[in-house]
């Protein structure tokens, strides 16, 4: 029922988008002068309802592509692998010269990638891996996110009782993150992990429930919480707050969500590991243009104007990345950025979040950027 409705809606949306592009594309073409002129980059989103894509990734990709004189067409699969296959078909049919795919599922997307490859259209796996050597992989170093979380927390609390709040059990990212934490935790033998569990759908409610049980089981003797993302951290901090521990027990997160950055300024969250989606989008846009112009996967380079907080540690050239499936795919892997009290001005300066959101409820004189 639901699926059929979405297929119908998506098809209408695609038709509308196609009609709209005919008018807009012609106008843009006149002004362009670079080599990418007239190129069409197709983007297949997995779930555009998540705020991040509309706020940063989408606009950054479009800006990069349009700067090179090309244009962008988009589809949204609404969190359905099946829908995404249909979306990619329609992007190919609309004449895309390169595809940027945020895959719902690393394996289920393969038939679509194969089709694109057969049609000679290069594919970029955006933010989520595609297990195919023909797909270029652009992402942040996910394992490093876990490492950064563990390092930041262990620096503050080198020993004691830890709770680890993991994400959705079926999402490989949950385990990547957990894997990244291990070395830093191993380096501190005084740390005991007293609670550790997955949370369905990375849901705030589940994290709150897990933390309530964890606090009860340990007489509130929890010294630090490593939460794998910010929305779960919201639930964790609410649970800590209920027993008066918010602000004394450090909590991690990732994504740079508005409330999380506010909590960092308030002191109830230690760090939110932020992936600068503007930089990721810009990289994908520029790589898509290179690939559409016929540059080989191995010869692709990252933009040379990436800032220090994201610049790949391996340099701007494409690197081989070994997938969990044992394939070597060409990739550009950007660096995640820990946002703490010390550098919270960065997210405001780059336009990721406004100052009044970060500073809501922060008492004067405690945080530099909040006055």
């Amino acid at each position: 029922m639901r699926r059929r409705l979405w297929v119908f809606l998506a098809l209408s949306a695609v038709l509308l988008a196609a009609c709209g592009d005919d008018g807009g594309g012609g106008g843009g073409g006149d002004g362009g002068a670079t080599g990418g002129e007239g190129l069409i980059v197709g983007i297949s989103w997995n779930n555009y309802a998540q705020p991040r894509w509309a706020k940063a990734d989408g606009p950054a990709i479009i800006e990069a592509v349009e700067a090179a004189g090309g244009s962008v067409i988009e589809t949204d699969a609404n969190d359905s692998s099946e829908q995404q296959l249909a979306d990619v078909d329609s992007l190919i049919a609309q004449g895309a010269d390169a595809l940027i795919i945020l895959a719902k599922d690393a394996a289920a997307i393969l038939p679509a990638v194969q089709k694109a490859t057969e049609a000679g259209i290069p594919v970029i796996g955006y933010d989520r891996l595609i297990e195919d050597t023909n797909a270029f992989y652009i992402t942040f170093n996910n394992e490093q996110v876990g490492t950064i979380m563990a390092e930041e927390v262990t620096a503050v609390v080198p020993e004691g009782n830890y709770a680890i709040v993991k994400g959705h059990s079926a999402d490989p990212n949950a385990d990547f993150l957990r894997g990244g934490m291990q070395p830093a935790l191993d380096a501190h033998p005084g740390i005991t992990i007293v609670c550790e569990d997955y949370n369905d759908d990375w849901a705030t409610e589940n994290a709150r429930a897990m933390m309530d049980a964890c606090l009860a089981a340990n007489n509130n003797e929890i010294d630090a919480v490593i939460s794998e993302n910010d929305s779960m951290a919201t639930g964790v901090v609410a649970a800590l707050d209920a027993v008066g521990l918010a602000g004394t027990v450090p909590v991690t997160g990732q994504d740079g969500d508005d409330p999380a950055l506010n909590r960092v300024a308030l002191g109830t969250q230690l760090v939110s590991v932020w992936k600068d989606a503007f930089a990721l989008g810009q990289t994908a846009g520029e790589v898509a243009v290179q690939l559409a112009e016929g540059v080989a996967l191995a010869d692709v380079t990252a933009p040379d104007d990436l800032q220090d907080h994201v610049a790949p540690e391996a340099g701007v050239d494409a690197q081989l990345f070994t997938t969990p499936g044992g394939l070597d795919v060409y990739s550009i892997v950007l660096k995640p950025t820990p946002i703490t009290l010390d550098n919270i001005n960065l997210v405001v300066d780059l336009g990721w979040v406004t100052q009044d959101i970060v500073c809501a409820g922060v008492s004067a004189g405690t945080v530099e950027i909040c006055g």
């Binding site: 029922m1 639901r2 409705l5 309802a49 998540q50 705020p51 509309a54 059990s169 609670c195 569990d197 997955y198 949370n199 369905d200 759908d201 849901a203 705030t204 409610e205 589940n206 709150r208 429930a209 897990m210 309530d212 049980a213 009860a216 089981a217 509130n220 910010d230 929305s231 919201t234 639930g235 901090v237 609410a238 707050d241 209920a242 027993v243 008066g244 521990l245 004394t248 969500d257 508005d258 409330p259 506010n262 809501a360 409820g361």
Partner: protein, 436 residues
Amino acid sequence: MTQVSEAAEVTPTEVEKEPKSRGNLLRAMEIDFRVFGMVLALAVILIGFGIKTNGRFLEPVNMVNLAVQSVSISIIATGMTLIIVSRNIDLSVGSVVGVVSMVYAQLMHTWLPGWIGFDHPLMWVIALAVGIALGAAIGGFQGFIIAYIGVPSFIVTLGGLLAFRGATWVVTRGVTISPVDPTFKLLGGGPEGSIGGTASWIVGVFVCIAIVLFLVMNRRQRRRFGFPVRPMWAETVVGVVSCGVVLGLIWLFNAYKWPEALAQRHAEETGTTIPPGGLPAGVPWPVMLLIGVTIVMTFVATRRRFGRYVYSIGGNPEATELAGINTKWTIMKTFILIGVLCAISAAVATARLDGATLDLGEGYELYVIAAAVIGGTSFAGGIGTIPGAVLGALVMSSLAYGLSFIGLSSPIQDIVAGIVLIIAVGFDTINRRRKV
């Protein structure tokens, strides 16, 4: 008159000499066999986890946690019971909770502060009023289409499930909103969100007096109309046991003390001292809310014309309509009611998370329907009780909390929850068949 009632008083003892005596006792006290079974199941679950964790599970803090965790589902389940009893269904509850909680958070975080300032004392009242009005409007809208236009409730609320989840996104374009007003946050429980030790005892004593008064009045009224009454011993047992349970629960809530750090901060802020055994937290506000909702809903369902009409429609819609009852308006009212309950539940959920997320309330429809069904509500219509639904929700939340407490991973928890649902309804079906 007196003759009739005396005869009625005698009848039970006469008739029930033949069948099993345990059934007799329950029947004499007029205790629903199903509710009794549920209480038993709940006890088995709690004691089972207690044994497994060497008693640690039975500590007050866990009991308080699982009571609070069941509130959001329980509140809606009381309304879902009436919906299912009248042979309808509401699949949209989770999405309605989502959209209302997003509106609460937006009101308190973004919209209202611009008008009345951040720490306005009435902020939470305004937010709550707007949210409840919105819930009622959504419920009324769906109810109108179902009752007056005649589109099946399954379809209308399935549409609602999709549409209101989308609306949740539209309210904030998918962003998480946090934190909310500090007073509003008290609805989420925790030591600060509880009514305190002394107030709890007062409430307990009040409830006890109310129970006794209710029993006395009920008996008098039955006599007046010549209805059968319980034997005096049964009346006494019911009164004493109910009071005992109420006071026992109050004791349990008071046995949960404020965590030390928080108690100290609270003592400093209010200039009080912490009693030697610790500061008792008392009944959490969300639990008070649930108790209130349960009492009101039970009263509405069993003592008001509206409630009786609902059961009558569930039993036989055609006959009810032919009897001259305005069935359409009655059905629409059940949906307005569940909309209001969704808004109340959303307030508790929002307060507990100190904010609203895009996925808040997702999957509630399944848990709510499961709670009502475990609590003995029949999909055939006409059968179901409100306390049963609340107990059903408690059974589920005890299981979920217990499994998470003993460290079972979440996929395994889902498996157990699914199996328990089927077993519970299976038992009920067999039980009902045997009776017929």
